[in-house]
Every structure is written in structure tokens, then in C-alpha cells.
Amino acid sequence: MKYFPLVWAALWRKPAESVLIWLAVTVSFALFGLMVGLHATYDRLIDNARMDRLYVNARFPNASTTGILLPLALRDQIARVAGVSAVGAVHYLQGYYKDPHQRVRVRAVDEYVKNAWPELPLTAAQWQQLFATPSGVFITRNRAAMLGLKAGATLPVITPSSARADGAPSWEFHVLGVMPEMPGYESLILGNLSYVENSMPQPQQGYVGEYLIAVHDGAKANDISVQIDRELANSSTPTLTIPNKVAAIDSVNSGISVASKTWPVAGAGIFMILLLTANGLAQSVRERTPEFAVLRTVGYGQSVLTGLVLAEAAIPCVSGAAIGMGLALFLTRLPTHFLPADLASLPKPTLSVGVLAFSLACALLLALVGAVIPLLRLRRFSVIDALAGR
């Protein structure tokens, strides 16, 4: 602690330059935090996806607005495949609420989905309530806030008139309650399959959009997928079965994913800061050679001098990183309408304790690496030459 005044004086030797380096470190770490946080979000998306749940879709989806759907009769055939423990049916009802730009999608589910998708955050009583109220829906917290809905409110979903047997322009749903957030399913609205199906035009009744399957053993998910598709290959609706995790990995890595860009960007920013810090430190140590020579002469050892230089490197890096991470945290908390509209669909970076710790460790490492060259110089310098001003 008694060396603190020395380090402090060194930092404030050229205040303008020190502040500028510190600002550069802060901004760069804010970007670093956002990029690492974004990467963590994508990782979490994959981690949360399960290998023991499979999606079954029609292999040749006809892309018409009504969509060719899977016959409900397939359910029993799928349930008979060895290893399958539950088969839930889902129909996706797409429309908008109030404004055509405010798209909503109701996942209408049947009671088997409770077993096929056990992570759904509904209590047994809420499940009962859902199936007892044909037009009832449960909405995740953020989604409800975004649409301005509370329990007890009505949610009219407007669809093309051809979507209903009676030709009515909208579906009157009633909000039964608000669910906790589901990572990866931020805009989840759960409704009742029987109600939706019974209101659809006659030719579409008896069909669903997707089956959700739980299997006993996630390790066999790939084989079971193949088996289901093989059994239904010659049916009226050949299927395409994909384990949830495989789909998540594919969607994160498909094409030019943002996920693949996070590391290079974070790396380029940090590399820039590394050079800047190392350069500033080297210059500072060079200019203060006489000072170090005096310290050495009055008996300070190499280890103390090393400590002084390391502290001088670490203070701006670690404090800049800490403030920068704070800035990143602040940016992720900004409501999305402050962001450029086109970026609103980007998932929110996850700034967990792990990500923060990783960034601070990077800052410390940065300080260490930046101090290497100045320290080497310090090891070799001649006290006599330095004091003589050579």
C-alpha cells in the first residue's frame, strides 16, 4: 500500500493521455462485453435445447398460407415407435393484434404437450384452467408487457377471413395468466388446440402443424428420428423429424450467423487495446527511467519495480473493463425501441457473472501481456546510465 502514491503519480503524470487510454479501454470492453455476452446467449440457447425432445413436421410442406398439415391420425402411429414416451400436438395460429406490424403467434396445444414439453412453466392448476377454458391463453411476462396485456384481458388475434369456418375476422382469446420467461421462447403464447381446430374451416380440421415428442433416452434421439421418418415415408404425409438440440445448433450456426462474428470482433477490439496499453506503458517506463534508477539506488528490489509497473498497467485496464462491462450491461437493459429498429431482433447478450469474470480476467491478462516489454527493459537498464541521463 505504501507504494500506492508512486503508482498514482505515475498514472497522473500525463493526465490527458491517461484519461484517453482509460476511455479507449472502457469503450472497447463495453463492445467486448456485448460480444462475449451475445456468444453466451447463443451458447445458452443450445444448452437449453434438449436432445430428448423431437419435432415432427411434414417433410414436403406446401407453403400455402393455410399450410398442409399433419393428420391427427399420425399421432398413434408415432406413439407406437419404440422409445417415444409422449406425443403432443401443436397448431400455430398466426395473425396480428391491433396493428398489422404487431404479429402474434398462438401455439395451440393439446393436453399431451404437458408431458412432451415438461419445462413449460405452467402449474398443474394452470394446465387444468387452460383446458377448461377453450379460448384461454397464457402469455410469457415480457410478451404480455409488450402487448400491454394482463390476466383477464382479451386478445383479439386478427387473421385472414379464410382462417375461420365462420369467416369472422378475429379470434377472441382470453388471457388467463402470465407465465415466467422461457429462455429461447420469449414471445410464447399458449392456447388450446381443440378450440382453434374446431373453429377452422372443415377441410383443415383433423390436422395439426407439428408434433412434439418426448423420448425416454436422449442418446437414442437421432435413431428414433430416423425410425419415425422411415415408418411414415410411405404415408400420405411423409415427415421430417428433428431433435430440438440439433435444430438449435443448426439455427445458431446456419449461414452467416451473428454467433460466428462475435469472437473475431471481440478479439480485434482487444488486440487494439493491447497495443495501445503496451505502447503507453513502454513510453511511460522509458521516460521515467531516472525515477526507477533512483528507486533502485535507494534499495528497492527488482520485484518491487515489477510490481509498480504491473500495477500501473492493471489499474486502467481492470477499472476500464469494469466500467465498460457496466456500460454494456446498461446498453442491454435499454428498452429495444432505443436501438436501431433493425437490431431489435438480435437476442439480448447474457451478461452473467461468468461473462463478467471472464472479461475482468481478460483485462488482467491484457495488463500482464502489455507490461512484458516495459518489464524486460526495466530488467536490463543500467542505473549509472539512467542517472547520468543517457
Partner: protein, 383 residues
């Protein structure tokens, strides 16, 4: 004054070599910023280029009543005859209207649970006349009425498909009988097959779009008006280029906004760094500048020389960054939402990078330049 600026800049550049590490830091910082900016923008640049290659002001697209997309089967086969009666449609030498009802189908992967594959576009007899650049490069053209496909070169490369492969589709497995090029347009990421055969195999009847060649681009308004006022039709028309732009906009705008946001944050960091480095450079030259001021050099040339030095370093960095982005990404194949195209670091993008770096240099160079010009001659020489 020009003379003085030149002398000062020369001294500055000679000094740069002495301060080689600081100069290098500035160059590398700007290079990283520009490399990140250009490599991210190469994504949308490449995508837009592929769309522009397919553009022809003579072409218009007729879409069904719902959705505003060419997906689906919204155009009933019985409407086609009426649509072809519209005014302004160009005619082939034998008198056929140059219009082609088309249908799109997403092709499921051949493997058990891999996702992704090219789209299949069903085209009719006039489809080839509407794509004059289309050439078969291997194998042969598909025969109408047969369940067979040809694949675009980009799609073949991206999805590792070859002539002779068989693709599981409704009605069995369809062989790939040929591959084609279309001058780099987005058509090259797709399968082409006979529209009638595709519809029959899928058990559906409606088309997704009708591509129309107009007599001249000016004929569009009359054509679109005729369609929209015809009581028998619910379809509407838009210029094909407008449709392509509209459908790519969502993704390209997202990625462009992301690229600029990331680059803006990096630039802010680099800006603080630049000011710091140039302050240090001016401090190191205090005595040299004061001496010149004492023998009659004016403050303005002093300030200009500092700005010139900053700009030189920043532009060097920008060129290195642009070269890195070009070497790493230009021409690299990528797929997005089943569309395959090459990333592009075009001359336009490189110019953008150089401008970006110049602005950074001027913003970062002004405070040190002012300090250099305003420094006291007496104090500097007295130290």
C-alpha cells in the same frame, strides 16, 4: 504556407520512423476497425450484388392476393390466361407472350435430420426466355413432364450436390440431370424443374408468381393498373427489382445496422487511442516545432502537418484493413436463408473504409493539432 506545411509534414514523417512503435499502434488500430467494418458489410454487399445481377428493368412479378410473396399457391391456374391478356407484355418472335407462371418449393434435406437445402423453382416453357443468361454447364436441360432437376452452380457448391445425385421429393426421388450458371444471380442457388411436374407431384394446383417481360420498363404502370382494375383478378404486380429489394431488405438492413453499430463502438475506442497517440507525438516534437515557429513558421501549417500525419497513418491502416478483409472474405461462398452468394469487398466498400478512416483521423487529429499550433515557443525552448 504550402511550402511550410510541406517542410513540417516531411519532418513529421521522418519523426514517425523514430516513433515507429506509436505509429504502428495507430496504423494497426485503424486497420482492425476497418477490417471489422468491411468484413461485416461484405455480407450484405455480396447479397445485394447477387440480387442486382438478376435485375432487369423489363421484368415484373405478379403475386397472389395474400402474403405479397412468391411462396404459396395463391395464383389459380385459371387466372393465368387472363393475366397474359394484360397490355404491355413483350412477345416472343412466334407471338407467345413472354410470361412464366412459376412455383417455389422448399426441398427437404436428403439426410435424416440435417436442415437446409436449395429451393426448387418450377418454371414453365417461357422461363428460359426470361433468363437469357442461363446456360447449362454440365449434363443437360430438364425435360418437361419428367421428374428431374437442374441445379445452379452456387447451390451445388454450397450444398455439395452433383449431377447424377437423386433428391427425395414428392412422388419419389428426382435425379439432377444438369447444372447451370446464370451470371451469378440468386437463381444460381436454386433447383429448376418443370412447373407442371412440380405442381402435379405436390398435389397442388396454384402458382406462386408470374414473371413477366414487359415491352419496355415504362409499360409497367399500365400493366399493373390493368391487373388491379380487372374485376376477375385479385393479383397485383410489382417490378421484379422492387420485389427482390423488398424481400432482401429485412435481412440486409439487420446485418448492416449490426455492422455499423459494432464499427461505431470500435471506432470510438480507436478515436481515443488516436488522440492519445498524436498528443504523445506532438509532445515529443515540442522542441522541433518551437524551433520552426521561432524562425517564422506559422501556427496553421504546424496544425495542418499534424493532421496530415494522422491522416497518412490512418489511411495506411485503412488500406491494410481493407486488404485483410478482401483477402479473407471477398468471393467467399456463404448461405443465408437458403440463398447462396459470394461475400463481396467491392471497390465501393473499400472507398467507404477509406472515408471512414479519414473522418476518424480528422476527429482524432484536431485536438493534438491545436495543441501543437498553440504551444508557447518560449516555454518549449526554455525546457
Amino acid at each position: 504556407m504550402l511550402m511550410q506545411t510541406a517542410v513540417l509534414t516531411r519532418l513529421g514523417i521522418l519523426g514517425m520512423l523514430q516513433r515507429k512503435w506509436s505509429s504502428l499502434v495507430l496504423v494497426v488500430s485503424v486497420a482492425s476497425v476497418i477490417a471489422v467494418l468491411l468484413s461485416m458489410l461484405s455480407v450484405t454487399e455480396g447479397m445485394l450484388r447477387a440480387y442486382r445481377l438478376g435485375e432487369d428493368p423489363h421484368l415484373a412479378i405478379v403475386l397472389g392476393p395474400e402474403g405479397g410473396t412468391e411462396w404459396g399457391n395463391g395464383i389459380a391456374a385459371s387466372d393465368i390466361g387472363t393475366i397474359l391478356d394484360a397490355p404491355g407484355i413483350a412477345r416472343s418472335p412466334d407471338g407467345h407472350p413472354l410470361a412464366d407462371p412459376e412455383v417455389l418449393l422448399s426441398v427437404p434435406p436428403s439426410g435424416p435430420f440435417l436442415i437446409g437445402g436449395p429451393e426448387l423453382r418450377g418454371i414453365g416453357a417461357e422461363g428460359l426466355a426470361l433468363h437469357p443468361k442461363l446456360k447449362i454447364v454440365e449434363g443437360r436441360q430438364f425435360h418437361s413432364g419428367r421428374q428431374e432437376l437442374i441445379i445452379g452452380l452456387a447451390g451445388a457448391r454450397a450444398f455439395k450436390l452433383r449431377v447424377g445425385d437423386r433428391i427425395p421429393l414428392p412422388g419419389g426421388t428426382w435425379p439432377i440431370v444438369g447444372s447451370f450458371t446464370d451470371g451469378g444471380s440468386t437463381l444460381e442457388s436454386q433447383f429448376l424443374a418443370d412447373a407442371h411436374t412440380v405442381l402435379a407431384a405436390g398435389g397442388t394446383s396454384g402458382y406462386g408468381s408470374v414473371i413477366v417481360k414487359l415491352e419496355n420498363p415504362g409499360a409497367f404502370n399500365a400493366f399493373a393498373h390493368w391487373l388491379s382494375t380487372n374485376p376477375d383478378l385479385k393479383e397485383s404486380a410489382e417490378p421484379l427489382s422492387g420485389y427482390l429489394q423488398r424481400t432482401t431488405h429485412q435481412f440486409s438492413a439487420f446485418f448492416t445496422a449490426l455492422a455499423y453499430s459494432v464499427a461505431a463502438m470500435m471506432t470510438l475506442g480507436a478515436l481515443f487511442g488516436t488522440v492519445k497517440l498524436m498528443y504523445a507525438a506532438v509532445t515529443a516534437r515540442t522542441r522541433e516545432i518551437a524551433t520552426l515557429r521561432a524562425i517564422g513558421y506559422q501556427p496553421l501549417p504546424v496544425a495542418l502537418s499534424v493532421l496530415l500525419e494522422t491522416t497518412t497513418l490512418a489511411l495506411t491502416g485503412a488500406l491494410i484493413g481493407a486488404a485483410a478483409a478482401w483477402l479473407l472474405f471477398d468471393g467467399k461462398l456463404t448461405t443465408q436463408a437458403r440463398h447462396v452468394y459470394d461475400l463481396s469487398v467491392s471497390g465501393h466498400l473499400i472507398a467507404l473504409g477509406l472515408t471512414w478512416a479519414s473522418v476518424l483521423a480528422i476527429l482524432g487529429g484536431v485536438p493534438p493539432a491545436i495543441r501543437a499550433a498553440r504551444g508557447s515557443v518560449r516555454d518549449a525552448l526554455a525546457t
